[in-house]
């Protein structure tokens, strides 16, 4: 019984779809960011601060960070599922990855709204 191969976790579609949607969000944000940077040739500290003082830029950046976090979580978990076979070790590593990603998102919020 302990050696039985088990499948059927029923969450494949959700994460696969989430990875594609978050990738699209990141791509759109990246294009907007490039346009903003190109249209402001002299990006001084004050220009930069004014840009991120605007509510829409903060929300968009937070959306980008959340998308990156979710996207990275699915990707890193996929790598762990392929290469780390003992379930206990994999769970421990997945928890570490989740905590790290959560810390980065928290740090992003702190930077954006400080």
């Amino acid at each position: 019984m302990t050696g039985r191969t088990v499948t059927g976790a029923r969450y494949g579609l959700r994460d696969w779809l989430a990875q594609r949607i978050t990738a699209t969000i990141m791509a759109v944000y990246s294009v907007i960011a490039v346009v903003v940077f190109i249209s402001n040739k002299n990006i001084t500290y004050s220009v930069w601060r004014d840009l991120f003082a605007q509510g829409w830029m903060r929300v968009a950046t937070l959306l980008f960070a959340a998308s990156l976090a979710w996207h990275a979580w699915v990707g890193v978990r996929d790598i762990l599922m392929d290469y780390v076979k003992p379930a206990g070790l994999r769970l421990a590593l997945e928890v570490m990855v989740l905590l790290t990603i959560a810390a980065y998102v928290g740090w992003t919020i702190q930077i954006l709204w400080r």
Partner: protein, 231 residues
Amino acid sequence: MRLSIYRYDPDKDDKPYLKDYDVRLEHSDRMLLDALIRVKEMDDSFAFRRSCREGVCGSDAMNINGRNGLACVTKIADLPDHVTLRPMPGLPVIRDLIVDMTQFFRQYESIKPYVVNHDAPPERERLQSPEEREELNGLYECILCACCSTSCPSFWWNPDKFVGPAGLLQAYRFIADSRDQETSARLDNLEDPYRLFRCHTIMNCVDVCPKGLNPTRAIGKIKELMVRRAV
């Protein structure tokens, strides 16, 4: 023509090795399989599978200069003078170029490769319209040679959990069949991070399929149906 062939007999050899054979080809030798039969005449301890010798049975799938293919449909003229032959990667070697395909067929079996229809059987066959039959083109031709699944890294890492491109192509073959009534159960069976979603669309399967089939497209269609079902 020089063939370097992977040799391993677990009863005699501590580890596998490559053995070189200089094969004198006859004028009638056109395919790699013909050269292998010449090797067998030179060294009858060499073991490999072959049967139909025309790309229908899928027995002589092997790794030819790093790329999976069928020896019987690989033209000698298209190969360099020096060819290295190894067993298909990712499956246990029984001897020389013969691999144990149990894992591969277990995954094939897991997708229920037959039409499930709960209606009373008609007097004659269950009919399909030409359009419904058309849906099966590019799917039913699979000969289960395992060239695709054994060139897929996801299948190498998780052969016990990932169905693999051949099994998923067959899964879609029955999902797409208008006579089958188990679509939802078939999708349930594949809605899993391992069984279907280990596919990361690198398309090695499409690259090597000797029948020119496209498992990646079939996998995409399964995912599309799952999305349509979920949203």
